[in-house]
Symmetry: C2
Subunit: 317 residues, 2 copies
């Protein structure tokens, strides 16, 4: 019998889950929309049934447990706490609820921390004891590993670099404060940067032909690969802000490598080059030219499921 774990990725729009072997092979992957489940109990009933029956067709495999990555996930309590983008309010003890219904042990953490464990077990961070994972999606998520262990913090909420303040008088953030890193360095952040530059800068740009609503990180990327000066400047500025904040994070954990993951990281050199340049420029001399800045090795479509499954394997012992 080979052992399998169900890795679950709870998103604001869809729930994805998959069966993952200890080697990181994804045996099955499915997803369904989350919005129709107004009650968490209905969601748990439905998802539990799908989990239980997901192995029906698979001979010689046994389901060992469940790993969950979720927004505002708390590892210690197995809870989702006050997640603004989910249909259920307050504190949801999702790990316990799923565990009861499926009779399987369940572990839960936030999505970026799950991706970090995924990178450590299945990705480019194999064998590294000190590294940082940055997920660049609509917002900016992060996970920190020190002494070979994910830093969870005393309350299970560690790794929120996206809400470190770059400029206390800066851009308004969804969290209620101003100048958080993710308002600059994320897909939504670079869109805000371009919108600001369209008024503040005189640089020519094909993006000037778009309405404000039409500007997206995708379109900024496409303009940048055609050497659009304003789009290139927006990537440079994104790298400047992220570079300084990574240099600051390095003073705390001194990682061997920093991995960038997610939509904006897929822009390749357009984002990696300025981040590297400014990070090195702002690093304390003892840290210069020591830290690798690398893309994640997790396949983007499976990353969340792999990460959630890795969380289970990693913390099982």
């Amino acid at each position: 019998m080979q052992k399998l774990v169900t890795g679950i990725d709870i998103g604001g729009t869809n729930v994805s889950y998959g069966l993952v072997t200890q080697d990181g092979a994804v045996k099955l992957k499915e997803s369904f929309p989350i919005k129709e489940f107004k009650e968490v109990s209905h969601f748990v009933d439905y998802l539990s049934q799908r989990i239980i029956h997901s192995v029906d067709g698979l001979k010689d495999y046994q389901l060992e447990g469940i790993g969950i990555g979720a927004p505002n996930g708390n590892y210690y309590n197995g809870t989702i706490e006050f997640a603004p983008n989910l249909p259920w309010k307050g504190v949801i003890p999702l790990a316990e609820l799923l565990s009861k219904k499926t009779n399987l042990p369940a572990k839960l953490t936030n999505d970026a921390n799950a991706a970090t464990v995924g990178e450590m077990i299945y990705g480019n961070a194999k064998g590294l004891k000190d590294f940082v994972m940055i997920t660049l999606g609509t917002g900016l998520g992060s996970g920190f590993v020190a002494n070979g262990k994910l830093i969870l913090g005393h309350d299970g909420f560690a790794g929120e670099l996206g809400h470190a303040i770059f400029d206390p008088n800066g851009r308004q953030c969804n969290c209620g404060r101003k100048g958080c890193l993710e308002t600059y360095a994320s897909a939504s952040g670079i869109v805000r940067t371009v919108k600001e530059m369209l008024t503040s800068s005189g640089k020519p740009s094909s993006l000037r032909n778009l309405s404000t609503e039409e500007i997206s990180s995708e379109k900024i990327y496409r303009a940048a690969i055609e050497n659009d000066p304003l789009a290139l400047e927006a990537f440079d500025y994104t790298g400047y802000v992220l570079g300084i904040m990574l240099a600051n994070a390095v003073t705390i954990t001194s990682p061997e490598a920093i991995f960038l993951f997610g939509g904006l990281a897929n822009a390749g050199d357009l984002i990696f080059k300025p981040v590297k340049k400014y990070m090195e420029e702002y690093l304390l001399p003892i840290f210069k030219n020591k830290i690798e800045l690398k893309p994640s090795a997790l396949p983007e479509n499976d990353a969340a499921i792999l990460g959630a499954a890795a969380l289970f394997w990693e913390t099982k012992h």
Copy 2:
């Protein structure tokens, strides 16, 4: 036989050392000036002799090892690397040199990390798995503990929050960069703040009667306890900068407590109140009202020796 460790504090002016029991009792304490030892070999010869003979008068005690706290100390290599304030240049393998001469195992780390381990073993952080130690001296040192272990980083240089950048266009720092936290939040930082305010602010102040050379953190403290408006504003600004940077550090490790140690921390409420106020104001909501900000419990005169000894006990296993 009771076991003892020699805790050594290497400073720019003096070297202090003491014999410390596993319970943290300091059995003997001595110090001597460092400047006369132009050659590190002479220093090692001299210090080794003193260590070996330090137990001569003590019956029923046995020397187990040596713990060293030093500027730019690297735990993994037991080296002092390019310390600007010491008489010896380059990389000094001090732990190995002392170990060979004394036949005792020796561990070395930087002074703030040693103080952090001291707080964990003998101070207010007993039993805490996630905390931060901030040492406010001439500069700002820091140590981070996560999952019950000191974060050393891949190269042994983690915990340099004093060189996290508060303002990339800010004050010139000794490290060659601009706007490092310690140029604001330290004894020398508050002196710079007052000197700036004496020109930029119209506030009355007894400090205006002093020459620029005479202004010291001690005199700012004395003015502040007599409600000098400018001195109070300088403490408030110091708390603002440190508060924001601590709020940012919290996003990474989510500590249960933050301990302030050293000269500026002795100003009590004058520094604790503004740091607490601004840290809470700039914390991400999920971290608000959770983190204790406390003075260190290490006795100031013995802290460095206790920390260095604790380093040995802690990492012995």
